[in-house]
């Protein structure tokens, strides 16, 4: 009986001990679950906030004043956050985002959008969010809920942008000129008035500076931020003439250099529809006191003397540098007086037809240039064969051309030239670009290669400068072959994709078109990519109806970089 009694008492002891152990086991498991749950909510909250501040930083362009932009950005932060962290996510409640009240990380005034104290061209968007999570198991110990808070900070660098817009004649014949103006205006609308700086140059044979970079760019260039458009500098563009790309890049870069905002994002935004064919050169070698005029030329210098009569012998006998462009505080420290002009060469289809060189024009022409004028830098070129206007094959007066243009762009770079070494000659102690042939196909081919090299080199110098290095974004525009051009079996000499890839320093192939129109840089024999230099983007727009999309794609890329 005694034994039976003890057995009954002990029956269920394992169950009791096991049940009692649950008192400790379940809270321990629950603690792990609750903490894991809170961490999961916190990670989602953090990701949501990061998305919100980045989205807000990108929205800093909306508004005409920095104060208005800050308000817009704060509103966008809330909108983005709510999209990422829906109400009641994971059973959370009391969720709130704070972009305007004082909290750690904001500036002294408690603003959520504020300038960086060190870099005045950097803006922060700072926000704080919190939410409450109920505990499932820890409530047994009195912890019914926990409030989780996270902060997030995104930055946006001000952008300093120079538009470099091709207004050559082919832009006119293809009907692309109005589309270019419209697309360029829309492009400017993507940036923050009052903070970002945008200016513009347009170019044909010559270059015209419509505006240096300005925070008032929307008014100056002709865009208003409320969805409408107004007239501005971009509306003055008329398309006519050649394609002096090296000078345009150099002048646009100089405008960025003069702004001298190394803490900002410096950008050249280049659009062109054809091949470079014009360079601004100085046919006076001041080191060797040598003029690039043939002895038999009828050209006369400022004193009325031909070279054969002792003319073109001193700098004093030559006209001064143009007054069309101020070089003060410029990247280009000195442009000497001399025999300066923009030498236009034909496009390949013209050269194939026997038309090689046509004129010497002014480097400076207004947006509505007539294109065809034949002058030295400050007037006519008396006695010269090209003094009468647009005359094909009229450069017999020229003995050679310099190996750099007036901005220092190299026509025959020692490293990675795009077109390989060009033909040179030595004369009077100097080495120069050969114009052997006096204007025939040999002359043209050598000059054409030199122009391509100079264009590539202008972009290289802008990217590689130690003080102000630029991101270069490029749009190549196709579709410039008119029906008559097509009927003649020509291609219209579209933009050189490899050259434009090199200018942008873009390693990628065509990401814009289907099928792709060009290969990645690594697969192109003549393409070079510099990984240590800023890498921009090149887009080929097959016709002008896609220009807007191309410009907006570029603006999107820039806004990505600016954060």
């Amino acid at each position: 009986m005694r034994t039976r009694t003890r057995t009954r008492k002990q029956r269920g002891i394992t169950l009791m001990i096991g049940t009692m152990s649950l008192v400790f086991l379940v809270p321990m498991i629950g603690l792990g679950i609750d903490v894991g749950f809170m961490l999961a909510v916190k990670s989602k909250l953090q990701a949501s906030m990061d998305g919100a501040t980045l989205g807000a930083a990108r929205a800093l362009n909306i508004g005409q004043t920095t104060a208005a932009q800050a308000v817009t950005a704060e509103g966008h932060a809330v909108n983005w956050f709510n999209a990422n962290f829906p109400t009641g996510y994971f059973g959370t409640y009391n969720t709130a985002i704070d972009v305007n009240l004082g909290s750690a990380g904001k500036d002294a005034a408690g603003n959520g959008v504020f300038d960086d104290p060190v870099n005045p061209h950097l803006r922060h968007v700072h926000a704080y969010a919190s939410t409450t999570v109920d505990a499932f198991f820890m409530r047994w110990f009195g912890y019914t809920s926990t409030t989780i808070g996270v902060t997030s900070d995104a930055t946006r660098r001000d952008a300093v942008i120079m538009l470099v817009l091709d207004r050559s004649g082919s832009m006119n014949t293809s009907g692309a000129c109005p589309s270019l103006i419209s697309a360029a205006k829309l492009f400017t609308g993507q940036f923050a008035a009052g903070r970002d700086y945008i200016g513009a140059v347009s170019f044909s044979d010559g270059t015209y500076v419509h505006s240096a970079p300005s925070t008032n760019f929307q008014t100056v260039l002709g865009y208003t931020n409320d969805g409408g458009s107004s007239a501005g500098q971009l509306d003055s563009i008329q398309c006519n003439g050649g394609t002096g790309t090296p000078q345009a890049i150099a002048v646009a870069y100089d405008a960025l250099y003069k702004m001298n905002l190394p803490g900002a994002l410096n950008i050249l935004m280049i659009e062109t529809d054809g091949l470079p064919n014009t360079m601004t050169l100085n046919w006076w070698d001041n080191n060797n006191l040598n003029a690039g005029i043939v002895n038999g030329s009828n050209c006369t210098d400022m004193s009325g003397k031909k070279k054969s009569a002792g003319g073109f012998a001193t700098k004093a006998s030559l006209p001064n540098w143009t007054t069309g462009y101020t070089m003060t505080s410029s990247y280009y420290t000195s442009v000497p007086a001399g025999i300066v002009g923009a030498l236009y060469s034909g496009d390949p289809w013209q050269a194939a037809g026997g038309s090689y060189f046509a004129m010497m024009s002014s480097p400076w022409q207004a947006g509505a240039n007539t294109g065809d004028n034949s002058i030295w830098v400050n007037g006519s070129a008396p006695g010269c064969t090209f003094n009468g206007g647009f005359i094909w094959n009229s450069i017999g007066d020229l003995a050679w051309a310099p190996l750099t243009d007036v901005y220092g762009n190299q026509l025959n770079p020692g490293t990675n030239p795009y077109q390989g070494a060009v033909n040179t000659i030595t004369s009077g102690g100097g080495t120069y670009l050969s114009l052997a042939g006096g204007g025939n196909n040999t002359t043209w081919t050598n000059y054409h290669h030199a122009v391509l090299n100079a264009t590539d080199n202008a972009a290289y110098q802008a990217r590689s400068n130690g003080t102000i290095s630029t991101y270069n974004f490029v749009i190549g525009l196709g579709g410039n072959c008119t029906p008559s051009c097509t009927a003649a079996g020509r291609t219209g000499d579209p933009p050189d994709n490899v050259l434009l890839q090199r200018i942008a320093n873009d390693p990628n192939g065509d990401l814009f078109n289907t099928p792709a129109t060009y290969q990645p840089c690594s697969q192109e024999a003549t393409c070079v990519n510099y990984s240590g230099q800023p890498q921009g983007t090149y887009i080929f727009s097959s016709d002008h109806t896609k220009l807007v999309q191309a410009f907006l794609s570029i603006s999107s890329q820039i806004l990505r970089l600016s954060r």
Partner: protein
């Protein structure tokens, strides 16, 4: 001492199987509890990781990484290590729809824009702006396993999909005029409609957890969506 032996023997005889029955009773509660705790604990850990993967992939995406390339998809694969993201064998160039692979992960990246009258003004005269006042996809990239199933159901992007022409790098063609470019599911995510031309970047990840499936407790998977 003499009586203790028979008592012990008698207890064993009388109690034979008692402990095991009691333990079995306990186990009926404990084992499901431990199983539930394990599955949910691991899933919570994975949810943390998934949120971080989404954020990291998105951060790279908005800063210009081209996820239509194999190299970039490889980066996403490394970021989501342990989730079983498969992107197939190496390819050159671009593949914005590398989504026919196996594995336990599927990732969608998209750029969406709201089209207002200003955006439509860029169209040539006479062209109808079909997608005015709509969200449209500008880019759509997906990779991994588009046939991924969570809880027996094939995953569906909360962003929707597009049947518009998309090139190899994911750029959507004719997004102003092709109605197939409309991102009809996007608007519901934003409380305030985006302004004309405003772009949002979205990253969506799906990670299934078949290794945690037990008969009574299907582990399901994790879905994460963030706009940047």
């Amino acid at each position: 001492m003499r009586t203790s032996i028979p008592i012990r023997r008698r207890r064993r005889e009388g109690q034979r199987g008692t402990e095991i029955m009691e333990f079995a009773l306990l186990a009926m509660f404990l084992i499901p509890t431990f199983l539930w705790s394990f599955i949910n604990g691991v899933n919570l850990i994975r949810m943390n990781e998934a949120n971080e993967v989404t954020r990291d992939v998105g951060d790279l995406y908005i800063h210009g990484v081209d996820y239509s390339t194999y190299e970039a998809q490889s980066v996403a694969q490394k970021l989501s290590g342990g989730f079983g993201l498969q992107i197939g064998s190496s390819f050159t160039g671009n593949n914005a729809s590398n989504n026919g692979n196996g594995g336990n992960a599927y990732i969608v990246l998209a750029q969406v824009m709201y089209v207002g009258s200003g955006s439509c003004s860029s169209l040539p005269n006479g062209t109808t702006c079909t997608n005015q006042n709509s969200y449209v996809f500008l880019q759509y990239i997906s990779f991994g396993n588009a046939g991924l199933q969570i809880n027996g159901t094939t995953v569906q992007s909360a962003l929707g999909t597009t049947t518009a022409t998309v090139n190899s790098s994911g750029i959507v063609q004719n997004y102003l005029t092709d109605p197939n470019a409309v991102a009809s599911s996007v608007g519901s995510h934003f409380q305030t409609q985006l302004s004309d031309g405003q772009v949002a970047y979205a990253v969506e990840t799906f990670f299934a957890s078949p290794d945690l499936n037990f008969t009574a407790y299907p582990a399901g998977g994790i879905h994460s969506l963030d706009f940047f």
